[in-house]
């Protein structure tokens, strides 16, 4: 018989719990360990509980944004709006709780929901109006930025009247263990993201649309509807990040948020998710986000100026994607 299978080992790879891109993840994970080791040796202050918690805390907001963005990128789209949409949800949470006096829990819920609405609008523009994701989300980025400033009157909204609001991010759910809630919520959302992506129909359609949108449509799948759902899910993740951001700062800062979307995209890409769609994992994104904050934190501890930190992160993005490209060309 002629060989039916050109590349049998791919079949084996698929069996790993991480699905496709397992090697890229192992690579990313190894880089993370190397970075941790390097900074631990370079600075005695690095590998301390308080510093590690700092790293995780600073990962949480970007990380959750990145988790949401992962869905969109796997469909072959891109979301430039998550940074300012996050700010808008912070501001909306402030409006609900501080201006309107809505009970904290309900305010938080509505805040998260407003993120979902932003996602729903972007998703509709992409799916129904057929506006390319880059343009639709660029527009939403501007709209959200402007609205955040307009609604807040360009001034921060403080949550000083609602005690306990900061505990959402900085308190701890598990008594006795000194892990801030924001970190726990980040990991919880990673698990939720993993389940949605790998265990539900939404997740399967996310991959299917990214792999071949037209074939998916011709299989009788209502692609437009699922796209809107996927962007809305990303929006809900953005909403959660917005609430966490507000809780951490105990205020909604309307001028913040621009640029977060690019860091989120960088984290997703470092984690091995392909910008051309169809491939990606939540685990990868978590590792990608951690690499970014370990790097920033470690460089800061080594007193590298902030401007240079950004330069280094830029190079890391290139390295990560290049490693992925090398791996792919070898696989051929």
């Amino acid at each position: 018989m002629k060989p039916e299978v050109n590349n049998p080992e791919i079949g084996e790879k698929r069996k790993s719990p991480f699905k496709s891109g397992a090697l890229q993840q192992i690579l990313a994970f190894a880089s993370l360990i190397v970075l941790l080791l390097f900074f631990s040796i370079a600075s005695p202050n690095f590998f301390e509980w308080s510093n590690l918690m700092n790293i995780l805390l600073s990962t949480s907001v970007i990380g959750i944004l990145a988790l949401g963005t992962t869905f969109v990128i796997i469909t072959g789209g891109i979301d430039l709006s998550v940074g300012t949409a996050m700010t808008l949800t912070s501001v909306m949470t402030g409006v609900f709780i501080t201006f309107w006096g809505v009970p904290t829990l309900l305010g938080v819920f509505l805040g998260i929901l407003s993120g979902g609405v932003a996602g729903l609008l972007v998703g509709s523009a992409v799916a129904k109006m057929k506006i390319p994701p880059f343009i639709a989300t660029l527009a939403m980025m501007m709209i959200a930025k402007g609205l955040a400033l307009v609604i807040s009157g360009t001034k921060p909204i403080y949550f000083t009247d609602s005690p306990g609001f900061t505990d959402i991010a900085l308190g701890t759910m598990i008594p006795g263990v000194d892990i801030p809630n924001a970190v726990l919520i980040f990991f919880l959302m990673a698990i939720v993201g993993y389940i949605i992506l790998n265990k539900t129909a939404v997740g399967r359609y996310t991959f299917a649309i990214g792999s071949n949108e037209e074939a998916t449509r011709l299989s009788g799948v209502n692609v437009d509807r699922w796209k809107i759902i996927i962007y809305s899910i990303a929006g809900l993740f953005t909403g959660i990040a917005g609430v966490l951001m507000a809780a951490r700062l105990n205020s909604a800062q309307p001028a913040l948020g621009m640029g977060y979307e690019l860091e989120a995209i960088a984290a997703v890409v470092i984690g091995g998710t392909s910008l051309s769609g169809g491939k990606g994992t939540m685990v990868g994104t978590v590792i990608g986000a951690l690499i970014m904050s370990v790097l920033t934190n470690g460089l800061r501890i080594l007193s590298v100026p902030q401007e240079w930190q950004t330069v280094v992160v830029g190079f890391v993005v290139i390295l990560a994607v290049y490693a992925d490209i090398l791996r792919r060309s070898k696989a051929k």
Binding site: M1, K2, P3, E4, V5, N6, N7, P8, I10, G11, R14, K15, S20, K199, T200, A201, V202, G203, R204, Y205, F207, A208, S211, N212, E214, A215, T216, R217, L218, S219, G220, V221, N222, G278, K279
Partner: protein, 500 residues
């Protein structure tokens, strides 16, 4: 005539895990067309990639005009006079014909700082005149028909003054008339002493155009025969090394008089005019016609992939509204596109996901949770039923052969339990052995009571499979033939019957 132009001897090539070629030989004389045939995966492409410098051989010799050559890339091969026209067209759609032909070696002016567009077009025109090809150098490639684009590729290959020309399935997208035109050009090239290696799955063409045929199987050289002294059956048995399924007509005409699908007065812009036909239960209804006659458009309109201007579709006697593929699927229609990779499959996803994609609703538990085990069981049953050759249902579809990919698409619709299946060119790009299996499968499906519309450009296929044949020309149905009355001649008469 008898000077040997090219000789490949003892060529071997291995890839990690696979020995793609072992001790293969090929000989090409001046002014000769040698057909290179073999099933998909037989090693034809690898052989040609070695000839044109894309791959490096592990062992063996390539003699060109008597001298041993060592090529390290395509450019060297082209400069030496060895060109290849790939199956997929490699043209920049947004450039003009002339720009495409001279890409990478554009004439310059002003000390090489500016492109000389005038000379470019003149050179191209001179080339077309020489070849007697009717092309305008200034036309944009995107505006040309596939056949014209093919001509551009041929002109491009010949602009290198090629002595050896490799054509990989050049006729896959051409109509009969265009194929004839291509053969005229090939005849002229032969007279000029050009040697042509012609790769094709279409036996009738090989018989018409080649002087000798070299057969490969499983990376090995099987033999070379003179076209005059051989038969199609002989070549096919050399290719497959076994007897293939050869029932010429379905044994039982199991189709009943029960009408499953009725299409009435379907219109869509200029592409579909007054389409009327019906499909019976258990029937294989062939759709014949030339490229662009509107057959695929009929399929897409029924399937809801394109919107229609007017017309009525009835399923099991009841009028239905089909506005999207989703509606069509809910009414039990499945569509298998001619371009599987673009419209049928998610090639980077595994077999089970591809099989389940049209039926996800039935694999969902509470809150949208996927029943992975059930998906696995169902797709494994399908893989077994359709004899899909794959190590497991976790295999990526990309790694399957064309025939097995087609079976995965069929499995997708059978899982959905579709009663009406529209096959658009079901065996395009599928090797001879697997074709037989697909034919057998179609007959079995019809016998089980599925109703099938089969669009095909290969007349022998239409004649072999169909219970009834609809012939289209320029967006209209121009004829209906029963299996008994259908012949290549009768179909072609209707297919060229232009109205108005």
């Amino acid at each position: 005539m008898s000077t040997v132009l090219l000789k490949m001897e003892g060529i071997s090539k291995g890839f990690p895990g696979v020995q793609a070629l072992s001790n293969v030989q090929l000989e090409l004389k001046e002014g000769e067309v040698v057909g290179l045939v073999g099933e998909n995966g037989a090693g034809k492409s690898t052989m040609m990639k070695i000839l044109t410098g894309i791959y490096q051989k592990d062992a063996g010799k390539v003699l060109y005009q008597g001298k041993e050559i060592q090529l390290s890339n395509t450019k060297e091969a082209q400069e030496m006079g060895i060109s290849i026209i790939h199956q997929e067209l490699n043209l920049a759609q947004d450039l003009t014909v002339a720009q495409n032909i001279f890409i990478g070696r554009e004439p310059r002016k002003a000390f090489g700082m500016l492109l000389d567009e005038k000379k470019l077009n003149e050179d191209a025109q001179r080339l077309f005149d020489q070849l007697n090809i009717n092309l305008n150098p200034k036309d944009y490639v995107a505006d040309l028909s596939v056949a014209k684009q093919q001509m551009v590729e041929i002109a491009k290959a010949l602009s290198f003054n090629s002595k050896v020309l490799v054509m990989d399935e050049p006729t896959a997208a051409l109509t009969e008339a265009e194929i004839d035109a291509l053969f005229v050009i090939m005849d002229r090239l032969k007279k000029d002493g050009v040697g042509i290696i012609y790769i094709s799955h279409r036996m009738e063409e090989l018989q018409k155009i080649t002087d000798r045929i070299t057969v490969m199987r499983d990376g090995e050289y099987i033999g070379t025969v003179s076209t005059k002294d051989t038969t199609i059956d002989e070549i096919i048995s050399m290719m497959v090394g076994r007897q293939i399924y050869q029932s010429s007509k379905p044994e039982v005409h199991s189709s009943t008089e029960e009408l499953v699908l009725e299409v009435k007065n379907l219109n869509r812009g200029k592409v579909l005019k007054d389409i009327n036909f019906h499909l019976k239960k258990g029937e294989i209804l062939g759709f014949a016609g030339l490229m662009g006659a509107g057959r695929t458009e009929v399929a897409r309109a029924i399937f809801g992939a394109d919107s229609i201007d007017s017309g009525e579709i009835r399923i099991n006697g009841k009028p239905v509204k089909i506005k999207s593929p989703k509606d069509a699927v809910q009414h039990g229609i499945g569509y298998l596109s001619e371009d599987r990779k673009r419209f049928g499959l998610m090639v980077d996803m595994d077999v089970k996901s591809n099989i389940a994609i049209a039926t996800m609703d039935s694999f969902l538990g509470a809150i949208g949770w996927m029943k992975d085990k059930k998906i696995k069981t169902v797709s494994e049953e399908m893989v077994e039923k359709l004899k899909v050759k794959t190590p497991s249902v976790h295999q990526n579809v990309r790694n399957l052969s064309g025939g097995n990919q087609q079976k995965v698409v069929i499995a997708k619709w059978l899982t959905r339990d579709c009663d009406i299946l529209i096959f658009d060119e079901p065996t395009r790009g599928i090797d001879v052995g697997a074709k037989g299996e697909i034919y057998k499968l179609l007959n079995e499906l019809a016998a089980e009571g599925k109703s099938i519309i089969m669009i095909s450009s290969e007349l022998p296929e239409v004649l072999r499979m169909s219970h009834r044949v609809m012939v289209m020309c320029e967006g209209r149905i121009t004829g209906e033939l029963s299996a008994e009355n259908a012949s290549q001649e009768s179909i072609m008469t209707y297919a060229t019957q232009r109205i108005g």
